[in-house]
Symmetry: C2
Subunit: 239 residues, 2 copies
């Protein structure tokens, strides 16, 4: 009598638990193997059970994005706009790198979640506080694009590592058709041979492009401060 030994019940589901499991699954097995059925299995539950906690798969993905966005460190306070923006973007990048699927999923979102909007809002705030006009800030946001969230879509995956022997043959083969590409690839691989790992330092490349943009924005800001005309949207310099 008294209280029976409860049959070993698993913890009840919740939106939170579902999202965390989804993120973990995507982290471990890749976003392609994240299906509602597989996720349910992971949670030891029948697939349809998930639908009591998320409306559908799209909303699941939205929720996963929010988990990642939630991991971005808050902006540093009291810094100049440029360093504040730079730091925040690199913070976002760190969060995204922890979840390799995140950038792909972000790209596929059609509507921004409130959390993403909040992040964007705070980024806009950094520029506005730095003295950018509303107009200019708008253009800036477009120019930065996904870089605001710490990633850029790479058009092809050049970080594949392959057998040096095969690689050299490929290079020789490609050289006839794509001499300029090969010229670059050669240098990259040569530099990398002493070090280790893939041919490209993605982080360095990201920061290079980021700083290039930020420096350009700084110049624009100076221009705007000197002549705060209602700038027509024209090219930065020839405007």
């Amino acid at each position: 009598m008294a209280q029976r030994v409860a049959p070993p019940r698993r913890a009840p589901l919740s939106k939170e638990r579902v999202l965390r499991a989804a993120v973990a699954l995507a982290d471990e097995s890749g976003i392609d193997s994240l299906s509602m059925r597989r996720l349910a299995e992971e949670l030891d539950v029948v697939p349809m059970a998930l639908y009591k906690h998320v409306a559908n798969k799209e909303q699941l993905l939205d929720g996963m994005v929010d988990v990642v966005i939630g991991e971005i460190d808050p902006p540093v306070r009291g810094a100049a706009w440029k360093t504040a923006v730079r730091h925040r973007i690199l913070a976002a990048r760190r969060a995204l790198l922890r979840h390799p699927w995140a950038s792909r999923v972000l790209e596929s979102r059609t509507d921004a979640t409130p959390l993403v909007l909040a992040y964007m809002d705070s980024m806009i705030g950094l520029f506005r506080a730095g003295g950018f006009s509303v107009d200019l800030t708008h253009h800036v946001m477009h120019a930065m694009g996904s870089r605001l969230l710490g990633f850029t879509q790479e058009l092809f995956d050049d970080s594949r590592s392959l057998d040096p022997e095969v690689r050299d043959m490929l290079i020789r083969e490609m050289g006839k058709q794509f001499p300029h590409i090969v010229e670059i690839v050669k240098v990259v691989y040569h530099e990398a041979d002493s070090v280790v790992g893939p041919g490209c330092d993605d982080q360095a490349e990201f920061e290079f492009a980021l700083d290039l943009l930020l420096d350009g924005l700084e110049a624009l800001l100076q221009r705007e401060i000197q002549s705060p005309a209602p700038s027509p949207v024209r090219g930065p310099i020839h405007g």
Copy 2:
């Protein structure tokens, strides 16, 4: 008698015909409704027939990308690197805009097709001819990213047009949480109300960002010419 009237046979399939049909279908009905089955139906053929001409769906998508890339005008000859690059990129953009699905598909490609490689090679060639070192060109290619092909991923679709009444209510609602976003949206909509169409001039935004980058690259090039040191990959200005 003589030659009998041949039964009305449809034109035989070919990789070419399959690709053209796929592009047309995606253009008209969106990339989401492009399935092997639907495409086969369009060609009045059983689904498996397609597999005699393309290995699988991935290769079909690769082929579709090539169709689009093939539509990009060749580079203008004899121009300065900056205008040559600018024109070519805007040409690529025109091709992509003709096929709204193309940027999404391009993003999803994991390997570049030879045609894409050829395009990239020719873009690299423009920079090299303009005096960029191999190293710098490499960084430039990363910095330009998908912009080289005339598109940038927009993180959320702000060009949705909706009932002005609903819009104003939304704006008022959002204002509390996202004041900076609303500040921008208001200006954009105000500017657009006189004109027509969506709130944002995407082409202008694209060119703004493109010119911002090209101007930055020009400055880098000057720096490099003056001190052609084997530049360590550091930020453009603080390097």
